[in-house]
Chain length 344, copies 2
């Protein structure tokens, strides 16, 4: 069932997940096209971004920066769409815009919530390297990680939307970059296409030892976006005065309660102390006001010059969003995951 | 058996402790007075500092900044002493010096390892508020914690050598200060003598709830020097953009292995993320070159003006050092713990 101009397909949160979501947590509904009110804009979705943070918004607790999706409401998500009708003089029908329509074909939004994109050869990049994930990589690495030439930067989910950009920016800053990814194909891509110095498969039973061998001078910056066993392998390799920007802990998003022991916290805090490590969480929404313009300028130049390469994992059809999202949480995507909801 | 000028009493590490040290881990030996070689100085110990870091140096692994004490060697420690004989032209007999003689009556040291103190009304302060613990409080609070007027600063071991200074400096910077200590006497002292806004007894079964009540606006800076259950009570109260300087984790120094579960690490890292928290370990030895002079000037002024008050817990006699040190690890001291090894 493709997108039409007669009805609006949308995925609502059918039930809160226990652990890893299943297709039963989502329900596809067919509704009437919404009508824009005064100051509002009706958009038609072309691309929907799928990102790990969405999992945390499926839980009742939500996050510090956004409330949970209520059961029965449309799943939230960043989108690239075209304006269908506008009652905001700043937007005209046909225009390409970045917004947060969520998992659906059509949405109305206040004009203030939309960003005009102009015409782009590859509009989905506004959801990836030129959007929130790329900006997350840029801010976390440069503001907190602060890699210096010759230092070693380690990044997990190395071919993911954030990790791939972290590694490529770190290379541009003169660092040695060691990626961590799930599987030989991803690791090969990180080295051969993205220019990482090395990339280790975290599924390898010898992973911890191989990571140590790939980091003979230790690790100065670890961009934390996964947590779990990868963190345990990284921790003993961190150098004095290492920096650990924390962007996410996808390995733990499906946990309903603290995992069983042993308790890894005391060793972690003791390591922070002994090695004078700075660990700092950040939420990208905080940084748009003061850093987004610099990011768009720098990243636009790097992409245009071929210095940052971006791989997308494009899934066709809104109906495939739940399966693709579950795959993302399992590490089955390869590159920035987007759903092509409609042909442009 | 008091100090004499005929022999040198010293405590050596008799055996590495399992968990909390016992008196059997220390052995008192009687040896000949050492002779200073060229460029060396013989000192007689007046005061020995007892500090939690010593526990970590009793384990084989040692720390990143100092090796373990070998079994059979003299226990290390900061000392205030008087020069007995000098083959370094910079030091004269009778002079008061700060050094690291360890748990013994006499020691020889290179002159470069000694700091002249001039004459001091209370020489033991060079081991406390005017020494390493005071400097630790100063650097950790001001460089990492960076409290702003009106913010809430929480500090554990509130009447200890470091905590008491952290709280009093934070008050001078305009922060609201909430201490945490073991027992009603210590809490009363923190509020009535040190000027803290509140102080909670961590042994109170209602501790977590009372701490929350005492921090109605949350916690902006938590000076981490204990770990354990206190940390668990503090974590949910941390505000967005809180800072957590990590100076020590005394609650964990006696652990031989990771404690049983649940695993508290994922929740901690997730909290760092959600609340954009910075957690940073530091080792005070790194900061002498660039901050010690400013500290001595500021702290000297504050103490002279009565703006920072220091309580000492003075134990008489070197023979009582092991018992006093074990008590320190159990929280039985009340103020900066020093051993008066000899009358001046």
């Amino acid at each position: 069932m493709p997108q039409t101009d007669r009805s609006n397909r949308r995925f609502v949160l059918a039930a809160r997940p226990q652990g890893l979501p299943t297709p039963a947590n989502f329900r596809l509904e067919d509704t009437a096209l919404p009508e824009p009110g005064e100051g509002q804009v009706l958009t038609r979705t072309l691309y929907l971004s799928l990102d790990p943070y969405m999992r945390t918004l499926m839980d009742e607790a939500g996050t510090s920066y956004a409330s949970a999706v209520p059961v029965g409401d449309t799943m939230i998500g960043g989108t690239v769409g075209r304006v269908v009708a506008s009652k905001d003089p700043r937007f005209r029908p046909g225009e390409l815009v970045l917004g947060g329509a969520g998992w659906q074909d059509y949405a109305v939004a206040d004009g203030a919530g939309l960003t005009p994109l102009g015409e782009m050869a590859q509009p989905s990049l506004a959801l990836g390297g030129l959007g929130m994930p790329g900006f997350t990589a840029y801010v976390g690495l440069l503001r907190i990680g602060q890699p210096k030439p010759g230092e070693t930067v380690a990044v997990a989910a190395a071919t993911g939307a954030v990790g791939a950009v972290v590694g490529q920016i770190a290379k541009r800053k003169g660092a040695r970059v060691v990626g961590i990814a799930g599987g030989a194909d991803k690791c090969r891509h990180a080295v051969e296409e993205l220019g990482f110095d090395a990339c280790l498969d975290h599924r390898d039973p010898q992973f911890a030892r191989r990571l140590a061998e790939a980091c003979p001078d230790g690790i100065d910056v670890y961009f934390e976006n996964v947590g779990g066993a990868v963190f345990d392998a990284v921790l003993p390799l961190l150098n004095n005065n290492a920096r650990v920007p924390v962007c996410g802990v996808i390995a733990h998003y499906n946990e309903d309660a603290p995992p069983p022991g042993p308790d890894r916290l005391p060793n972690m805090v003791n390591t922070l102390l002994q090695k004078r490590i700075r660990m700092e969480g950040f939420i990208i929404l905080d940084h748009y006001a003061d850093s987004y313009e610099a990011f768009r300028r720098d990243m636009g130049e790097w992409i245009a010059a071929g210095q940052v390469r971006l791989r997308e994992d494009v899934v066709d059809g809104l109906e495939n969003a739940p399966g693709a999202f579950i795959g993302l949480l399992e590490g089955r995507n390869f590159g920035k995951l987007v759903v092509r909801v409609a042909e442009d």
